[in-house]
Symmetry: C2
Subunit: 744 residues, 2 copies
């Protein structure tokens, strides 16, 4: 017998046509997975879509049908084997044809395709996938509202950091597969725990392709790969009547999976083998599992607080503190957006450097924002390994996805959400479901009564009941925005976030924009436009001007730069100043959010990454994986234990009274022993001690605040000066903050 499954690649061509009943006039080679836009650009030798304004050339493509075709070569099969056409996903609406016969019609890119070709396809037959133009509900609006009745991610219709460029095509692997007709279709694992977490119970659900007779042999390997046990489970179709097999087993003293910063990420391996009636191995399925329990709980003291208690306390401040394995944790992280405009190009190698950097920044939670795609399995595998919890949103964002029960939209959402849940559930990193982004806000106008959200809650409860579900973000108590170092009223993040102390339970989005590095800018903006930046140039296409409708300054914030620094002499100086604001702004917010623990328990900046090169953006890492200076500033602010300071503002006058509240922030599971905390001001030409504090130490996951230190700033205050704080003999806890001399 041959090994299973055996996979055979297919060679595709693609072409476009204006209507469903026409055919492509010409075809070009197609990369699968990929996107028709990239195939076309490759065939026509177009320059890169991400440089200058080249993306504009792709606009016409969104109004065409695109048909993929391939000539089948059916490999030889053994008796009892079938040939399947398998495809992970087609973006977005499509039909699959074998010669002149339609095999499947589907709307939705997240539901995989598996078609048994046995007895119907022969070598030389043509398999075609006809892809519809991307959905547009409202023909006039050239924006996200065109996607308000579809599960197509809205971001590619245009966003403040994403050009209008709507990908189409086969975006996941597609191939022929040979398997026995009787095989394992899927294995799901749920783990539950007794109250003190000393025993885990594994519930293993095995779905077979067809009802049959045989045996399952289930093996659990410990994180080092040693077998813990192998159990057999005989079955026959008559006793069961269906193809779902259920098996459970307790594991005493499980090695628990912890988020980054709280412990290891041991991953067990569950191996399920399907044994035929003659004792032969028919199929094998493996998956790694991390044993942990995750809940969303109210913060400590929430029920008693007068401001949040009373009636109805859990709606005034709904539960948003993550409790992992019984331990409440402070969630530090970021908002994750699609790492490329074309999801078909995203692979393990796209995710890996980004996620490693997220771990190195001491992050433990990524919010996968609902405007973008649902990530591929490789993303969740890496997050399992790295200890990065994932907040997964369904593809709804910033609009009223309104629909009556029974509507076509809800039918597609039902299908797509079930597919998404089945792909993600069971991952150790998978912390919570969320219906989508900003759906309860005045610009979206959805409510808890919206059928789409009731449907998602229903599906999550049906298919993954242990995982928390939020209908949207923000909910009450959550800080969400703003996205500026200094707001139009002249307030800085230094004042804005302090005011929220004791009121906000989570900061699910906050932003500080910064320009991209000069050499990076030069890679996609022509030299003659580089300095000074100007609107209606490639700076604007790449989001440095009028990107966010609420602020004409977005995201270059050149006015704010002028306010603090005056005119910049060259691009390098301008970029350095912008990056200083971004870095210092983010440091302030992350550390302030940490100080507000336990009322606040989450800080996620907007955003981590980007899908193409921005000239200015709130992100920490440029496309595809180049960290900006703010990345390192944030990483420093997110270390588990740090010496920190709360300073009331950014720019100071000579002779003014400078002050800093001294803190030690600890969200680690470890004690901090008593010690000496030192603060000093570095004026470049000299360093003055600001304060010494013999701190008493603190408990695991508890911050402490010390004295408020004050000093009069010298008359010869330099343009920049630094506050340095440290704990003696703890060099890993040092922090450094930069301030400037106020202009004029």
């Amino acid at each position: 017998m041959n090994p299973h499954p055996r996979r055979f690649p297919l060679k595709w061509a693609v072409g476009n046509h204006a209507s469903l009943d026409s055919m492509p006039l010409q075809t070009i080679p197609a990369a699968v997975p990929g996107a028709v836009q990239l195939d076309w650009a490759r065939a026509k030798n177009w320059p890169e879509h991400w440089k200058e304004d080249h993306f504009l050339k792709y606009g016409w493509m969104e109004d065409f049908f695109w048909t993929y075709s391939t000539r089948l070569e059916i490999p030889p099969v053994d008796p009892g084997e079938n040939v399947y056409f398998v495809c992970g996903g087609v973006d977005y609406r499509f039909q699959i044809w074998l010669n002149d016969r339609m095999l499947l019609e589907q709307e939705g890119m997240f539901t995989p395709v598996r078609i048994n070709l046995s007895h119907q396809a022969r070598t030389g037959d043509e398999l075609r996938i006809v892809v519809w133009p991307p959905p547009k509900q409202h023909l006039k609006a050239q924006d996200r509202h065109q996607a308000d009745r579809t599960c197509k991610p809205a971001v590619s219709y245009g966003w403040d950091w994403h050009p209008r460029l709507i990908p189409s095509g086969i975006w996941k692997e597609a191939f022929l597969e040979i398997r026995p007709e009787f095989h394992i279709r899927h294995v799901d694992v749920r783990s539950t725990f007794d109250s003190d977490m000393v025993e885990a119970r594994l519930e293993v659900q095995t779905e077979l392709s067809i009802p049959g007779r045989g045996q399952l042999r289930i093996t659990l390997l410990d994180p080092e790969g040693a077998s813990l046990f192998t159990n057999s489970m005989g079955f026959n179709e008559s006793a069961l009547g269906d193809n779902m097999l259920h098996w459970s087993k307790s594991v005493a003293f499980p090695r628990l999976w912890w988020p980054n910063g709280h412990g290891d990420q041991p991953l067990y391996t569950l191996r399920v083998r399907l044994i035929g009636q003659a004792g032969e191995e028919m199929d094998v399925f493996e998956r790694r599992i991390g044993l942990r329990r995750i809940r969303l709980v109210m913060h400590e003291g929430a029920w008693e607080l007068p401001a949040t208690g009373g009636t109805p306390a859990s709606r005034r401040n709904p539960p948003i503190t993550l409790e992992v394995n019984g331990r409440k944790i402070f969630a530090k992280g970021t908002n994750w957006v699609p790492p490329d405009i074309f999801p078909g190009t995203i692979t393990h190698d796209t995710y890996q450097p980004l996620l490693r950097m997220a771990k190195n920044a001491h992050f433990n939670l990524l919010r996968c924002w609902g405007g973008g795609i649902v990530n591929k399995p490789e993303f969740y595998d890496l997050c399992d390994e790295l200890g990065l919890l994932v907040w997964s949103e369904f593809p709804l964002s910033c609009m009223a996805y309104e629909s009556e029960p029974g509507s076509e939209y809800l039918r597609v959402l039902d299908q797509e959400s079930r597919s998404i849940i089945k792909q993600i559930r069971g991952h150790a990193c998978h912390a919570l479901w969320c219906g989508g982004n900003e759906l309860f806000n005045s610009w979206s106008r959805m409510t808890d009564q919206s059928p789409a959200l009731r449907l998602l809650n229903r599906n999550c409860y049906d298919l993954d009941p242990e995982t928390p579900f939020l209908p949207t973000s923000p909910l009450m108590g959550m800080g969400h925005g703003d996205y500026r170092f200094r707001n139009p009223e002249g307030e800085e993040v230094f004042q804005i976030y302090v005011r929220e102390a004791g009121k906000k339970t989570a900061y699910t989005e906050f932003g500080c924009p910064g320009l991209s590095p000069a050499e990076y800018l030069a890679s996609f903006i022509p030299e003659q436009e580089l300095f000074p930046p100007a609107p209606k140039t490639n700076w604007e296409w790449h989001h440095a001007y009028r990107a966010w409708e609420a602020d004409p300054e977005s995201w270059g914030m050149f006015g704010t730069l002028g306010h603090y620094f005056g005119k910049s002499a060259n691009l390098e100086e301008l970029v350095e100043r912008s990056q200083l604001l971004q870095s210092q702004g983010y440091k302030c917010i992350y550390e302030e959010a940490r100080r507000q623990k336990p009322v606040a328990s989450m800080a996620l900046n907007w955003c981590y990454n980007e899908p193409w090169p921005s000239a200015a953006n709130n992100n920490l890492v440029n496309w595809p994986d180049k960290p900006k200076p703010a990345y390192f500033a944030v990483a420093a602010s997110c270390r588990p234990v740090i010496a920190s300071a709360r300073v009331p503002k950014f720019s100071w006058k000579p002779g003014e009274r400078f002050s800093a509240e001294l803190w030690i922030l600890n969200d680690s599971p470890d004690l901090v022993s008593p010690g000496r905390y030192e603060a000093e001001l570095d004026f470049g030409t000299r360093v003055n001690s600001l304060a010494n504090w013999d701190h008493p130490g603190t408990l695991p996951d508890v911050n402490i605040s010390g004295p408020r230190a004050e000093v009069t700033l010298p008359d010869d205050l330099p343009e920049r000066f630094k506050l340095r704080v440290r704990v003696v003999d703890q060099p890993g806890w040092d922090s450094e903050y930069t301030f400037i001399r106020a202009r004029g």
Copy 2:
């Protein structure tokens, strides 16, 4: 062939025993439906449980098993017929035995029983129903917390208006039924509408007892009983594979069902006949349907209000305005509690007078509170006829019904909630589902993450997706309480509710207690205790002292009575004064809530009725159906159009400046034409005009306010005086308010 179904009563005996493996030593005749407590009292000639403190004698019964038994007489059956044992509900956990064989074991009183006895039961056999002692999770607490892991309504474990008396037994009809094996098990109807409501689409789902062959003949009769159409639908088992048949049909220009005060309640009749293969009528099922569409929507202007807009607007003020057939309505009504301690005694005749009075009070919404039972079908039938919308809660109240997915509690809740939903869905009056009472408050500590509430939302969406679902009441924006004319800080309802204008979207509970009438008190309090009332007498057992833990004055409020009136000379005077406060307090709140439209759109007082005689309570109608004076006061305040006045307080000093804001409240669908509004003060010995206002009229469902009229009160102010307001030539709109002279 005999007519179907044919029903045969059973004659029951009941007895108690201390353990599951013992038997009753003696049995007594049992009334079915009923309660074992009532059977025992009848057999032992006990006095009525509702008089004095006799309920205390029943305490021991809650720790016993009770076994019902009956000797079967199996009636003759035709070929193809079966004999079923049918029971609507057994309270609460039970087993059903046929001789020595257990046929069924069930926890939950809301799931009916239907057992096919054919081929297993013979005349002379014994059918036994063994009823468990009521569940008690926590043996020490003698209060509702004993019911926090069950679907047994918590109220009977003791409440501030309900004695501790926990009913047990068969609480719905139980009988033998003869039916063809092939029959209609249930017919469900859903109606949906096009956007302008000119066409209704009926979706009829017929569940057959077994898959079979035949025809359904579906007839729709208009509200006058004339046949609109009869359609036939052939089927055979092989084509369908199951026993669910789906049929749909459009009805053009449907006659819409409206809530009380907004139009008629036309009820169509849907008749589904099952026709066998030989053309014979096998079974017929009829149900009345009202065609209407109900939604919960945000109030007018909600998304734009700075206070409620922004982020996340629909959680800050979630949708609570009822929109019926596209028209937003102001919901006036009350909180409905079980009309008897023993649900087994409740019949159509229990409900009818109470519901007719509710209609006559101009109510259009009843909130069926989650601490009590889910009402019987007769309740919903009457509400369909009377135009009373129903807010139905599941049996969860004031506690943390916390449980992990997979737990036994959730299994029972799943079963019970599905049964409840199937019984209630499809009723025209059925306006919304609610998970239960006060679950998000600090004393309950449930949240949107609670598995019980996610399960209920799931089941409602699965089985009744068009009906809105609230997880609990109150949510944000909802006023819920207080329950006093005057609070401990000395504020009166006249000030408290005005302060909420523009902030509250619904008043789901508010109370003003009042004493019961003197002759009513005399029917259950011994004469020697009647006056003066005292604690630790039957006044206290009947809730006049320390009923509500938050206020030692509850519900007699004798201190408040003393504050306003001083000492009362006799019971009649005391009662009259208490009832004055209750009446004037409720008038103030209902009218103030109406003035706050459209931000506020709901006013439901706590509570309407009561399950046994109270000495003092917030209710409007004494058990079983005797209206208190406050009932009539509230009915006047709820007329669709009234002249109304906003007055700042209740007690006035001679020479003080009296003021009244003049209003016309209109929540009717009709215009109010311009006219003359007159206000006068009646001092008993003379009547002084206060103001005349030539009002401009107003639109349907729009209030108008006029001038604020002021006058200096005379030095000879009598102990009571009245404000009368009227619109000339509209005698049905007059209002009258009573005020008092302040003491001392």
